[in-house]
Amino acid sequence: MRIGVFVCHCGSNIAGTVDCPRVVEAARGFPHVVYATDYTYLCAESGQDLIKTAIQEYSLDRVVVSSCSPKMHEETFRRAARQAGLNPYLVEMANIREQCSWIHSDKEAATRKAIDLVRKGVFKVSRDQELFPSFFKVNKDVLVIGGGIAGIQAALDAAQGGHRVTLVEKDQTIGGNMARLDKTFPTLDCSSCILTPRMVDVAVNESIELLAYHEVEEVKGYVGNFDVKIRRKATYVDWSKCTGCEECVGKCPARIYDKFNQGLGRTKAISLPFPQAVPKKVTIKKDFCHFFLKGKCRVCEKVCQFEAINFDDQDQIIERKVGAIVVATGYEAFDPIAYLEYGFGKYKDVITSLQYERMVSASGPTMGHIKRPSDGEEPKTIVFISCVGSRDRAKGRSYCSVACCMAMAKQAILTKEHIPDSTSYLFYIDIRAGGKGYEEFVDRAREEYGAQYVRGRVSKIYQKGKKLVVKGTDTLLGMPIEIEADLVVLAVGIAPPQDAPELAQKLNISYDQYGFFVESHPKLRPVETNTTGVFLAGACQAPMDIPASVAQGSAAAAKALGLLAKDELEASPIVASVEIKRCVGCFKCEAVCPFSAIQRQELRDGIMVSNVISTVCKGCGLCGVACPTGAIKVNGFTDEQILAEMEALLL
């Protein structure tokens, strides 16, 4: 056995705290080490060349690179070893940066620890064996979950790349929250006018299968081979017959909460959310339908000349096989009911920014007229309050929702355009206008449209006669301020959908304390997740505005296309395997496996034993620890290897 040890200085990152030449000197004395050296930057091309040359010159058959975390450069050095003709799994990393030099200041002690870590690497590598990856076939289809602007963009891009796409949307139409907006900042173009063509593109694209009013039920399998169960929710309308004529809507007697209009106005138990809906098909909301509640009515059935109504409709589960999944489930507006001091829900004239958006929209319940919900009068003094459900630790929401400052400026402009003799007061903590043309947009709101910005938080809103008294502090003047408003608009934050954690568990991806899905790396892998083959787009990952959501939709599609460009994928050989002779069939491994990689396998005499599906296994090693008989081992991390490391450290 001929082991080579390479010690990296990482500039002064390591060499500043660790005496690298001394580590090299010590390494030369370790068993089987025939060559040891140090270098300023081993990850640089010259550093990799140094390793490759040494492998060949000294006929090295094992290598220890003593540098940074394996998460950083293990791949780099394994590749270098392969190029030099060595099996890449005969390379070990000794992390003397993150776990040594960066966290210590005593150079003598740090150097001794670095020597120990290198010895550990040498002991392990001497027990390493050659490993070879396996290959598996890839399904080329893509699943996109969520039909907002991010999901639409991802679906269109993936379809353009030549893949079949299944787009699952839980509501009866695609379009998401963007469809609710009247205008978009900073250009003030009409939201529907730029969105609906994209929605139609989805509908007419032959490569896209649009499953509206469907939800993902279960996801099994792994990258390249996901098996997805999708629930088709009963619509009670045969969509192949429905033309969206809305004859039934006019006649339906059940008036219900209008989710699309955020509770402003009412809709019917059979309805279309908005005129440009895609698909333009009605559904019956069973919980509110007179026929389902009282057994009488069926008016829709009588008036439908296409005989599309089907009260016997049932939920259905359909199955799809896909190779990659893009998650684009978007956001919900933060529910400001927690802000008792603002009286949302108590005072009719305190509304959310999304409700205001519906009010300003020409297709909204007030036909674009701004009216006080309480008495229908036109408000003259309007107060906007930012950061409701954002940047507020007391309410458990520390994060900035990114889009609200700009949305608030936009709404102040729209207000002035609708009601020229109105005054808008905008309470803010900071005006966050970081985006192309954003700061200029805020300037316009202030200078051309007379938006009155007040820096400070509102502490209390209460009714006084017909007016709402808004009490707060102007922190620039250091004075309390009181405004008698006709209408108060709460710029509510972006919150993940309530069922986001549930979906994350189905997809086996992580979510944060708020319910936003967690990306693989916040800077370098922003649309990937830690589950290979599952990508993120839009506000389900973090609060973001339309331009960012669209960019992420495209990015997620590009990542999926890159993955699916290959016919076969390589599976890491660092996976668990079962020694059948020692397995007693207790299936503790099955219970602990977070990836569902354990399969029950029947032997000839009916005895059940465990089997690891190597393409699903991530090599986390939980099963190996849980196994009471030691029948499971993880390649590259066998008991023998771990014990050797312990021996090197402790003896």
Binding site: G343, Y462, K464
Partner: protein
């Protein structure tokens, strides 16, 4: 079943809020709550002490808690400032063993973290069945429109009070509801009364009191119910000054919630020391009889 508390009146209830003390004792007796006054209690360590010396302030509170602990009783303090100071000191000692050790070094009798501190509102809200309050009512306060005013400290700071929503507490309304009075929605219920600025900045207190009284008038309150000596003082004692300054004609009695309960439970205005207030509580709509003649 009798509930028993170590009773901490504090300085206010011995002096300017004597009627709060008297009515609290009467009402608690009616509701089967036994109050054992902490013997030889001392200042809670509020306002002046906590501004000057945090350790001193905490040690003052801790001495009271240690005394209560020797009776194996939890503490009830009607004054919200006393309650806050005692509870804050208690929480800090429970959270930080070093702090507790330092404090105990200053005390003759060490504190062992064995006491819970509650405000009067919390005791009446959490420990007393609303049914029992109903049962005790002899003269329902029908037709009396009551605005419940909490001020700053009966619901805040949220992490110390740990009781109801600090922006819209409802405990006082819920406690008073069985009395039969009409409870009006009072939007300024947690607004500041000016507190101790009554000494240094009378102008400020008058301005705030004016806003509070104006709102009470606007919502048609006959009386404002309070649970804090400073709130009572700033709205009652200053009401004439407010009228003089702002040309208003407010005549709104400011009663402790325990005084209202006492009236409903059949105690006389004399027993409840109603005479002590500057704005007299003369008219009790619907129950005029009860007040003028005295229930007993």
């Amino acid at each position: 079943m009798t509930i028993k508390y170590a009773y901490y009146p504090g300085c206010s209830l011995e002096s300017l809020a004597r009627e709060y003390n008297v009515s609290t004792r009467l009402v608690c007796q009616d509701l089967d709550i036994e109050l054992v006054e902490i013997p030889d209690w001392n200042c809670c360590g509020a306002a002046p002490a906590c501004q000057v010396d945090h350790m001193l302030s905490s040690a003052l509170s801790a001495r009271n808690l240690a005394l209560a602990e020797s009776f194996k009783l939890n503490v009830m303090a009607p004054c919200p400032k006393c309650f806050n100071r005692l509870k804050e000191a208690d929480l800090e000692m429970k959270d930080n063993p070093d702090h507790l050790r330092e404090i105990n070094n200053l005390l003759e009798k060490p504190y062992h973290k064995g006491v819970q501190v509650k405000s009067l509102l919390q005791v009446l809200y959490q420990d007393v069945d609303r049914e029992l309050i109903s049962c005790r009512v002899k003269i329902p306060l029908e037709g009396l429109r009551v605005a419940c005013y909490y001020g700053c400290m009966n619901a805040r700071p949220a992490d110390i009070n740990d009781f109801q929503n600090p922006e819209d507490p409802t405990s006082m309304e819920e406690i008073l509801a069985p009395l039969g009075a009409e409870l009006v929605d009072y939007p300024l219920k947690t607004y500041c009364c000016g507190a101790a600025f009554g000494l240094a900045r009378v102008d400020l207190v008058l301005r705030l009191a004016n806003e509070l009284l104006e709102m009470a008038t606007l919502v048609g309150a006959d009386v404002i119910a309070v649970a804090c000596p400073l709130c009572q003082q700033n709205l009652d004692l200053r009401q004439l000054q407010v009228n003089a300054r702002y040309g208003t004609r407010y005549n709104i009695p400011i009663l402790y919630l325990t005084q209202l309960m006492g009236l409903a439970f059949g105690h006389s205005s004399k027993e409840l020391w109603l005479d002590k207030h500057f704005v007299k509580f003369r008219k009790l709509p619907g129950a005029t009889q009860a007040v003028s003649s005295g229930a007993r």
